[in-house]
Each structure stands twice: as structure tokens, then as C-alpha cells.
């Protein structure tokens, strides 16, 4: 009998405890938070980067995954590994699976021109990250490449132009010629230098985004122009090679080198600390990841008819130099994986 009583008591206690837990686990609703959380449950986000495995896409993806885990939706990634055809295929595959939001990182301006409208016609909201097709999706998150080019060129003008007392001799080590970032960036360089005739472009060479080529080109340019005042780089992944050539020629002190990129510690801040990059325009990947997550959250909550309310979140650019750099100016993937988004 006693055993029976004990059992009942235990059962009652357990039921009570369970009831209380349910009561406690019902979250507080401030009038908006409940619908906020519910709008994400079970949703599907798809992401086609131009390739995984490098600082930008790994950083964004870390942020995307962190937020998805916290809010109970999924982000599926298909890695086309720098191949445009594979990327188009991956995006097409996603369109037929009808995710709620499709995040695209286009390798060139034309490749997704048909996929973006197709996805939107299927009712999928499209976000483009850091590179933009000619066709607009629902949102663009990323750098304004023209603004980035202007900022870089103005830094060079400040270091080598009229008021600097220098000779104005500048070299440009640019990247793969047809990519939108390079086309737009070069336009910006030209526009700024048109207003500063004292800047003399002694060499303009493409290194094809390959640091080894950048090293070879820069070493030749430096031998030809021992009095060179400045060099414009276009992307830290390539500019490491340019920096290596400057260091080898022992010209860190005389050549003013401006680079740009996503601001990862190894590619950016380490080079600034070593005096190899004199100025660096960062589009701050953790910030972009946060913006990207914001765009996804807005679209999942408001569910606009695709294309009906396009918006852009242009990345605020940070200009880093040795003087203004702090330990938090750059980021590492470990940090981003732990706290990003």
C-alpha cells in the first residue's frame, strides 16, 4: 500500500513539475517577440557563394549559421568552387526546391541575370551579397565598389598628390580585368585621378588575383621606378604578393601602399602592423554578416512579394592605418564562428 502511495505522490509531483515547466517555457511576449520567433521556425534559406574556403564566404556563412541555429531555421550551402556554371546549376537546383530566401554571391555581373527573376517569379526572396548581378533582387548587402575605389584613390592622392610634397608617381596592380569589382573600381580610380593631374600613373598591370603574379609585376615596376610614391592594390588576397615585393625591395618606408578587402586579421591587420599596407579599406566581413542576417530576418518576417520592395544595405567602409588600428579592427574565423552574426 505504502508503495502505491509513494508512486502516486511521485506521479503527482512529476505531473506538477511538467506542468510548471511548460508554464515556464512559454516565453514572455512583449507584443512582438512571439510573432518574431514564430516567423523563423522551420524556414529554409539557401546560399550559393562563389566558393567556400576563403575569408569572405566563410565569415558570412559562420554568421548565417549562428543566427539560423539561434532562431530555428536552416541555411543550406552549395559550394560551386569558383565555377560559374556549377554556381548557376546550384542556384537553379535551389530554385526548384523553393527555399524562403535565396542568398547569391555572383562571380560576375551577368551569370545570374536569368536566375534572379526566375527565383522571384517562384516566390523566393533573393538577397545578393557583396557582388551584384545587373538584375536587382529583393536586397543587396555589400560594398559599394565605386565608393571603395574612390576612398582608395583619395588615400593615394593624400599620400602622393599636390600637398604631400611627393612626385605623384603611382602604380596600379589591378585584378582580373572583367570582374565587376575591378571594372567599377577602375572607373573610380580614373574619376579621382582626373581631378588630380599631378598624379602620374607610371604602370597599370593586372595580376589576375594571383599573389605570385602580383609579386612578379611589382618587383619589375619597383626596379623600373625606384622613386615610386604609391601603389594601389585591389584585394588583400592578391596584395600580399605586392607587399612581398615591396618588402623584398626594402621600400616599405618610401612606397605608400593602399589595399582593400574583408578585413581578416592574417590578410589585413598583420600586414598593416608589419608596415606593408600603409592604408587598408575594409568592408568588414563581421559587419556584412550582421547586415546579411538582418536582410534575411526582414524578409522572413515581412514576406514581401519578391521584387516588390527592394532595398540595399551598403557596407560602411573602414579605413585602417597603423595609427588608428585597434585589436578589434580585424577579425578571425574562430571569433566569427563563435560570435558572428
Amino acid at each position: 500500500m505504502n508503495g502505491m502511495k509513494l508512486m502516486r505522490a511521485l506521479l503527482a509531483t512529476a505531473t506538477l513539475a511538467a506542468a510548471t515547466t511548460v508554464a515556464i517555457s512559454e516565453p514572455y511576449d512583449d507584443g512582438q517577440s512571439k510573432t518574431y520567433y514564430e516567423s523563423f521556425k522551420g524556414k529554409k534559406v539557401a546560399f550559393v557563394p562563389l566558393s567556400m574556403g576563403f575569408d569572405l564566404t566563410e565569415g558570412w556563412n559562420a554568421g548565417l549559421q549562428n543566427q539560423a541555429k539561434a532562431l530555428g531555421y536552416t541555411v543550406e550551402v552549395r559550394d560551386p568552387n569558383w565555377n560559374v556554371e556549377a554556381a548557376v546549376q546550384a542556384a537553379n537546383g535551389f530554385v526548384s526546391e523553393k527555399p524562403d530566401v535565396l542568398v547569391l554571391h555572383p562571380l560576375d555581373q551577368q551569370a545570374y541575370n536569368r536566375i534572379v527573376p526566375k527565383a522571384m517569379a517562384e516566390g523566393i526572396n533573393v538577397v545578393q551579397i557583396n557582388l551584384k548581378s545587373v538584375t536587382n533582387g529583393d536586397a543587396y548587402v555589400g560594398a559599394d565598389w565605386y565608393d571603395l575605389g574612390v576612398k582608395q584613390a583619395e588615400l593615394i592622392v593624400k599620400a602622393c598628390g599636390k600637398d604631400s610634397g611627393k612626385n605623384g608617381k603611382v602604380a596600379i596592380v589591378t585584378g582580373q580585368a572583367a570582374t565587376p569589382t575591378i571594372v567599377i573600381g577602375n572607373q573610380a580610380f580614373d574619376d579621382v585621378f582626373a581631378q588630380h593631374p599631378e598624379i602620374q600613373i607610371v604602370a597599370k598591370q593586372s595580376a589576375d588575383f594571383d599573389p605570385a603574379k602580383a609579386q612578379a609585376i611589382t618587383s619589375t615596376i619597383l626596379k623600373q621606378n625606384p622613386d615610386l610614391c604609391g601603389i594601389l592594390g585591389v584585394w588583400d588576397g592578391q596584395d600580399g604578393g605586392t607587399a612581398a615585393a615591396i618588402r623584398e625591395a626594402n621600400m616599405q618606408d618610401t612606397v605608400y601602399f593602399v589595399s582593400s578587402g574583408g578585413g581578416s586579421k592574417a590578410a589585413a591587420c598583420d600586414n598593416i602592423a608589419n608596415d606593408l599596407f600603409d592604408a587598408y579599406v575594409s568592408y568588414d566581413v563581421p559587419g556584412q554578416a550582421r547586415d546579411l542576417n538582418a536582410a534575411v530576418k526582414i524578409l522572413l518576417q515581412t514576406k514581401p512579394k519578391p521584387g516588390s520592395a527592394p532595398f540595399a544595405l551598403y557596407t560602411p567602409l573602414k579605413i585602417l592605418t597603423k595609427e588608428n588600428m585597434t585589436p578589434s579592427s580585424c577579425w578571425t574565423l574562430e571569433e566569427q564562428k563563435a560570435f558572428g552574426g
Binding site: 600580399g240 612581398a244 598583420d270
Partner: protein
């Protein structure tokens, strides 16, 4: 017919003509500092060319070197950045490239897969395996800059940039190997006529394995020079077209793809022509596209002249000639 004007001499001649023209027309070209940087800029290509020459002389080819090089070095950097001593990381990378060489060699010698397919597939395997397990982030940077080891590719010896010194050392070692060592002579024999080589008692199969191990080790050396020069390595190199540049340097220099012919001198001649071209065109500030056109036209011209002066002999042409 001009006697003795075979491809190596034609390319040397073109290189000499370009050299003279550039020296006269381009200010600063002839300066010793520029000439050193000219050679330095192609030294990695040259080191890889020496490896490729070892393969082609033995009637093989190694398309996997451009995967082996960045993946092994990226892995080594990851290990060292993770706290491993440099020598241990280096040993791991060495073990890895030897393993790749052994697999290449066994596939070619014992499984009898044609070298071009075996190494093509192996290149993809190495890159894929590397990206998945050894270097998930494609650009790996040198973090701890303290040791002399990290200056292998960026220092100078008596005013000569170290990449040039390493290129010279690798070329010299390969030349001595091919000329004075038994396995080196065997490689010529195997390249000239593998069946005859076998009948004469040359251990053809183990020799092929050795050959591909050596090539992989040379790829590792090139990778170490490259990464210490640039302070980073990018495994995406495996997806680039650089492997064709390497084959080009070798074939342009006059090493026939049918094997058994040529030597290290040919690699040096081919490398120098490319170096002179690239350097001159950079000084002229030509655009990337124009550079590509000029480069390919001159290379095509060299091959056409060779074909005209040395027409194919149907009687001695070998099966497998490309």
C-alpha cells in the same frame, strides 16, 4: 635546311633577340637588378619545370604537381601555425608528397594507367582531399615570422635572390642526377624505349615510382619557395592553368613529349624566354590581354619554326608522339 637548328637553339635565339631588343629599347631592362628579378619571377616556374622535365624525359607527365605543391605546403603551414615545430611540419609535408609520388608511380608502373590520366586524377584527389581535410581555408598565411626558414624565398645570397639560388640548386641537382647517376640514365632509356629498357634489365617499374617521388619532392620545394616569398599559399593554385605554363616551359625548351630527349638545359632556356617576355612586357606596361596574345604568338612561332626546320620523320616518329 639549316643544320642543327633544333627547337632549343631556336628558342635560345628568340630569347637572345628579344633580350637585345629589350636592352636597346627599354630603359632599365639591362640593369643587373632587373635581370635578377627577371629570373626570380620565373624561378618557381623553372623549379616546377625541372620536375616536369624528369617526368617527360621518362615518357611520362605529371599533372598533379600543381595540386601537390599548394596542398602539401598549406597543410604544413596549418600544422606549424597550430603549434608544431617547423621541422616536424616539414617532415609531415615531405611524407605527404612522397605518398602522392608513390601512388602516382604505382598507378602508372604497376596498374599501368597512362601517366596523363593517373596524374590528372591524382591531382583532383589531392586537391579535394586537401580542401576537405588538410586545408579547409584555401589561403593559409605564415603566422610566426621569426625563423630563418620563412625567409627561404625572400632573402638574398651574395646579392642574388634566394628563389634564383634554389632554382639553380634544383636544376644542378637534377642535371647531375640525369647525367651521372644510374637511375638518371635509366630515365632516358625508359623514355626512349620502355620495352627495350625492360629487356635490357632496367627495373622499369620501381624506377617509375622513384621518378614520381622525386617530382613530388621538387613540387614541395617549389611550394616552400613560393610560400616563403609571398608569406602565404593558396590551394586554389590547383585550379589555375599554371600546370600548362610548366609543360610549356619544358616543351618550348625542346624536350619532346615522346620522351628520351632533352635535358635540364632545355628547361632553363624555356624558362628564360618566358621570363624575358614577361619582364619586357611589364616594363612596356602592356595590358594583360595584349600580354597573353603576344606570349602565345611568340610561343606558336617557336613551334612553327621548329616544325618547318625539323619536319616529322615518319620512320622514327614514335607511337605516343603528341
Amino acid at each position: 635546311m639549316v643544320k642543327g637548328l633544333h627547337q632549343e637553339r631556336i628558342v635560345l635565339l628568340i630569347a637572345a633577340v628579344l633580350f637585345v631588343v629589350f636592352s636597346v629599347t627599354l630603359p632599365g631592362f639591362i640593369a643587373p637588378a632587373n635581370l635578377l628579378s627577371l629570373v626570380q619571377n620565373v624561378s618557381i616556374l623553372g623549379i616546377l619545370g625541372v620536375g616536369m622535365a624528369l617526368a617527360i624525359i621518362g615518357r611520362g607527365i605529371d599533372l598533379s604537381i600543381l595540386s601537390t605543391m599548394p596542398v602539401s605546403v598549406a597543410w604544413m603551414l596549418n600544422l606549424i601555425n597550430g603549434g608544431m615545430p617547423i621541422w616536424a611540419g616539414l617532415l609531415c609535408a615531405l611524407a605527404f608528397v612522397i605518398l602522392v609520388g608513390v601512388i602516382n608511380g604505382v598507378l602508372i608502373a604497376y596498374v599501368e594507367v597512362p601517366a596523363i590520366f593517373a596524374t590528372l586524377a591524382m591531382g583532383i584527389v589531392v586537391y579535394g582531399f586537401g580542401r576537405s581535410f588538410m586545408a579547409p581555408i584555401e589561403a593559409v598565411y605564415i603566422v610566426n615570422d621569426g625563423s630563418w626558414f620563412w625567409r627561404i624565398g625572400s632573402g638574398q645570397v651574395l646579392g642574388v635572390p634566394t628563389p634564383v639560388v634554389v632554382f639553380a640548386a634544383v636544376a644542378l641537382a637534377a642535371w647531375l642526377f640525369l647525367r651521372y647517376l644510374k637511375p638518371g640514365r635509366f630515365i632516358y632509356g625508359m623514355g626512349d624505349n620502355p620495352l627495350a629498357a625492360r629487356v635490357t634489365g632496367i627495373p622499369v617499374r620501381p624506377m617509375i615510382v622513384l621518378q614520381y617521388i622525386l617530382i613530388s619532392i621538387i613540387a614541395l620545394i617549389a611550394g616552400i619557395v613560393m610560400t616563403t616569398m609571398l608569406q602565404s599559399i593558396n590551394t586554389r593554385l590547383a585550379l589555375s592553368t599554371m600546370v600548362y605554363d610548366v609543360i610549356l616551359v619544358v616543351v618550348l625548351g625542346g624536350i619532346g613529349l615522346s620522351g628520351g630527349k632533352g635535358g635540364i638545359r632545355n628547361v632553363i632556356v624555356g624558362t628564360l624566354l618566358i621570363g624575358i617576355l614577361l619582364n619586357g612586357m611589364t616594363i612596356m606596361n602592356l595590358t594583360y590581354t595584349v600580354q597573353s596574345i603576344l606570349k602565345s604568338v611568340i610561343l606558336l612561332a617557336a613551334i612553327v619554326v621548329d616544325t618547318l626546320l625539323n619536319p616529322r620523320d615518319e620512320q622514327t616518329a614514335q607511337h605516343g608522339d603528341i
